[in-house]
């Protein structure tokens, strides 16, 4: 009994010492981490801006654009006749489009049109399963959309290296540079025609990057898209799905099987749902080299042209 009590006393003494040591050592680190996380989260960015816009204005929006960079940079709501907002983000996949839509579903009282790009790769990827998975934290931190159970996906600090994070803090707090890269209506501003990339060399590499060997997400993504259309149907909203224009160096290098699977699925979807309309603009001859920023994105000139066309199409179908 005495020995047992002695052991317990020694344990308590050593453990207390250990805990004090750890707390003293880790305390400053934890405080620094929390401080940095606070600073990083307070840097305004596209995600916080769009979440703020949607929270305030979703009851006014008539046309909502969702999707990846192919909508973010290709559609400028400024040229729409209806009150429109571009809620697309780089690498945003269909599952996240659905989540955004669900988040504000109660507020979309005037919504008439949802526009979603279904690009060559859209039916075969989900952000959490791509190399761009680190962007998931933007949805959990700024949109409060939880699609992941990884702790790192809930933190700004843990999603990038400290090297990058320190330069972000320096850039915003000390240099005064903003991280917001979209217009007031959510259109991506970085793809300026003055900085067009080489359309010839970027095409094959991008096409290769967008080609998937594993097509297992196809059915799941198709189901998500159908759910979006079904959600819209119940609210008398029309869904416009489009495959965005791309330069011929990209189009020529696409895998026929993957492309055909997408095109046939979209045609089927259009047949199945009377509130869904599909436009394949992949090889649309209206868009020439000067409209492209790179082989699969338009610049602001192309975006203007494309948005005006989209606006007309929507109006025609509405009539």
């Amino acid at each position: 009994m005495v020995e047992k009590n002695n052991n317990l006393f020694i344990f308590n003494f050593k453990m207390r010492r250990f805990l004090i040591y750890c707390s003293a050592f880790l305390g400053p680190i934890i405080l620094t981490v929390l401080g940095l996380e606070f600073l990083l989260r307070n840097i305004p960015n596209d995600y916080s801006f769009k979440n703020g816009y949607l929270t305030k204005n979703s009851d006014r929006i008539q046309t909502l654009f969702l999707g990846s960079s192919h909508a973010f940079y290709d559609i400028n709501p400024e040229y729409m006749h209806t009150i429109s907002f571009n809620a697309a983000h780089v690498s945003q996949t269909l599952d996240l489009d659905f989540e955004i839509l669900m988040k504000y579903k109660k507020h979309f009282s005037k919504l008439k049109n949802i526009v979603i790009p279904v690009s060559y790769f859209s039916l075969f990827e989900q952000l959490g399963k791509t190399d761009e998975y680190w962007r998931l934290k933007n949805y959990s931190v700024y949109y409060n959309i939880h699609t992941t159970n990884k702790i790192a996906d809930y933190s700004e600090l843990l999603s990038y290296s400290l090297k990058i994070n320190l330069s972000r803090i320096d850039s915003y707090y000390f240099q005064g540079h903003s991280e917001i890269s979209c217009s007031n209506l959510g259109f991506g501003l970085k793809h300026n025609s003055k900085n067009n990339r080489d359309l010839i060399s970027s095409g094959p590499a991008t096409a290769q990057r967008h080609t998937y060997r594993d097509l297992s997400l196809y059915n799941e993504n198709l189901k998500i898209l159908s759910s979006i259309i079904e959600f819209a149907r119940k609210r008398n909203i029309q869904v416009f799905v489009f495959t965005p224009p791309a330069f011929h160096t990209y189009v020529k290098n696409l895998d026929t099987n993957q492309l055909n699977k997408t095109l046939s699925a979209m045609n089927e979807l259009q047949k199945k749902h009377n509130n869904c309309f599909y436009f394949n603009m992949l090889s649309d001859s209206v868009f020439t080299a000067k409209d492209f920023y790179d082989s699969d994105h338009l610049n602001e000139i192309g975006a203007e042209k494309f948005t005006i066309r989209m606006d007309r199409l929507i109006n025609n179908f509405r009539k």
Partner: protein
């Protein structure tokens, strides 16, 4: 769950608190906790393969008892071979089936026949090579009457599945680990602090050195035909540091974690790049695997007892099997073969046990001879790693021909970039710390222990700063694929 993930940073303290505060008074509860935590740790990667781990554990537990209870040798052998064949059968199906099927089909094509054995599309269960070898060592030790089987299934399961060593070793021995699981463990302040220190050093090696080297090594190896000979040399060097810091970093974290729970694991690395010959290198690199092969393959084959041819044969077998253990690819076999070729002359000249001590022990620097020996051993190791890293033999051969070209004398690419220069500086700093700490269990085991506390803490904070500064994306450990 990865050791270098934030999830592990939450998992470890939770298990620690439950282990020392909730289950402290009862050994069995502590073991149950370790088992549950270990299965949770494994299930975070892929819960579907948990059944395989549990099945393998149960099989070895049962066959261990049966071998011990069997009265005749014949019966003992039956249970032994049952365990060996089922364990190696799983390993064969998951790890080697596709390799053998395609190699067999290719061989038939060469003699004018066609066969389609089909391939299976299955992911390799993480850690299968490690826990299979764990179980086998237990069974073989029972068969050889070195140990008695464990009656308590929980204790045996913890031996196989203890989370720090579950997915990438060290490959433990029942004689070493089981007694620690079976007896009461006491919290030891200095050991716990030492464990934390070793975890910190492991994380530094993995996140700061290995992951940064990986960026250059991957870029150069994946586009090797685009680079000059000098850049290819650089690529091989980066991979050399990547694989060492990746794997030994993992081992450091595993050993440190186990120490916090009052358990000592086998040392896996002992500064292998400071070896003076290849025999010494193999006594210092992945020690738990090398000694496993020595005890359960080399010695049963006859070891070094026979004539020259006998020794050569056994050495070749050991190295080729060791290469093949790493993966179903000819590149690993050639890597093993190459190491055998380096090793055999030392064995035949009876010089394979010349350098048993620590290089320049008690001195600041090695002498000229030691420096030359160390550089030569390092050089041939780098050369062998090219085969290990290459995707195919063809790529390895092309890579090496690229190195032996005129362009080797050109200025390598990347050398002007700030990232490259900072990485070279970090590797240099890392080598100095490793050299200074080469007489310890791990490089920073005694670093600054007698210094003023704020200075020592400043060193630890610098390491943590570097980990955060260079970290970001969680990169998988190389040895998870084996």
């Amino acid at each position: 769950m990865l050791f270098n993930s934030i999830d592990f940073a939450f998992f470890l303290p939770i298990v620690f608190i439950l282990y020392w505060f909730v289950t402290y008074k009862n050994l069995r509860f502590q073991n149950v906790l370790l088992l549950v935590a270990s299965y949770f740790f494994y299930a975070c990667w892929d819960y579907r393969f948990l059944f395989l781990l549990v099945f393998s554990t149960f099989l070895d537990y049962l066959t261990g008892l049966k071998i011990h209870e069997a009265e005749s040798r014949k019966k003992k052998l039956f249970w032994l071979w049952l365990s060996i064949s089922v364990n190696l059968g799983f390993l064969g199906v998951f790890k080697y089936y596709n390799f053998f099927a395609s190699s067999f089909a290719n061989a038939l094509i060469h003699i004018g026949l066609k066969a389609n054995l089909g391939t299976i599309n299955v992911i390799l269960p993480v850690g299968i090579s490690f826990y299979t070898f764990h179980g086998l060592s237990y069974i073989l030790d029972i068969y050889k009457n070195k140990i008695k089987p464990v009656r308590d299934f929980i204790e045996y399961s913890v031996f196989v599945s203890f989370f720090p060593l579950l997915v990438a070793g060290p490959i433990e021995r029942a004689t070493h680990l089981l007694p620690q699981i079976q007896k009461k463990r006491y919290f030891d302040y200095s050991k716990a602090i030492d464990g934390l220190r070793q975890i910190l050093w492991g994380l530094f090696k993995k996140i700061v050195i290995a992951d940064n080297c990986a960026e250059y090594a991957n870029q150069i190896f994946n586009h090797s035909s685009d680079y000059s000979g000098s850049t290819l040399v650089l690529g091989a060097l980066f991979f050399t540091f990547q694989i060492y810091c990746d794997f030994s970093g993992y081992s450091d974290i595993a050993l440190g974690t186990a120490r916090i729970f009052g358990i000592e694991l086998l040392r896996n690395f002992a500064f292998p790049y400071f070896s003076r010959d290849i025999a010494e290198f193999w006594r210092r690199w992945h020690i738990s695997l090398s000694s496993w092969f020595r005890d359960y393959l080399y010695i049963p084959l006859g070891g070094s007892k026979g004539g020259a041819w006998f020794k050569v044969r056994n050495t070749l077998i050991i190295f080729v099997v060791s290469g093949f253990w790493h993966g179903a690819n000819l590149t690993f076999i050639v890597w093993g073969l190459l190491n055998a070729i380096y090793f055999i002359p030392l064995l035949l000249l009876n010089k394979n046990r010349t350098n048993l001590g620590i290089i320049a022990q008690g001195k600041c620097l090695p002498n000229f001879k030691e420096f030359l020996q160390m550089s030569f051993t390092f050089g041939i190791t780098v050369f062998a790693w090219i085969f290990f890293r290459a995707n195919s033999l063809e790529q390895a051969v092309n890579y090496i021909s690229g190195i032996f070209s005129k362009s080797t004398f050109s200025i390598p690419e990347f050398t002007g970039s700030e990232n490259f220069l900072s990485l070279v500086f970090l590797i240099f700093l890392f080598l100095i710390i490793e050299w200074v700490g080469r007489e310890q269990q791990y490089a920073i085991a005694k670093l600054g222990l007698n210094w003023y506390k704020p200075i020592r803490w400043a060193i630890y904070y610098s390491l943590i700063f570097a980990i955060f500064y260079y970290g970001g994306k969680e990169q998988q450990f190389i040895y998870f694929q084996f």
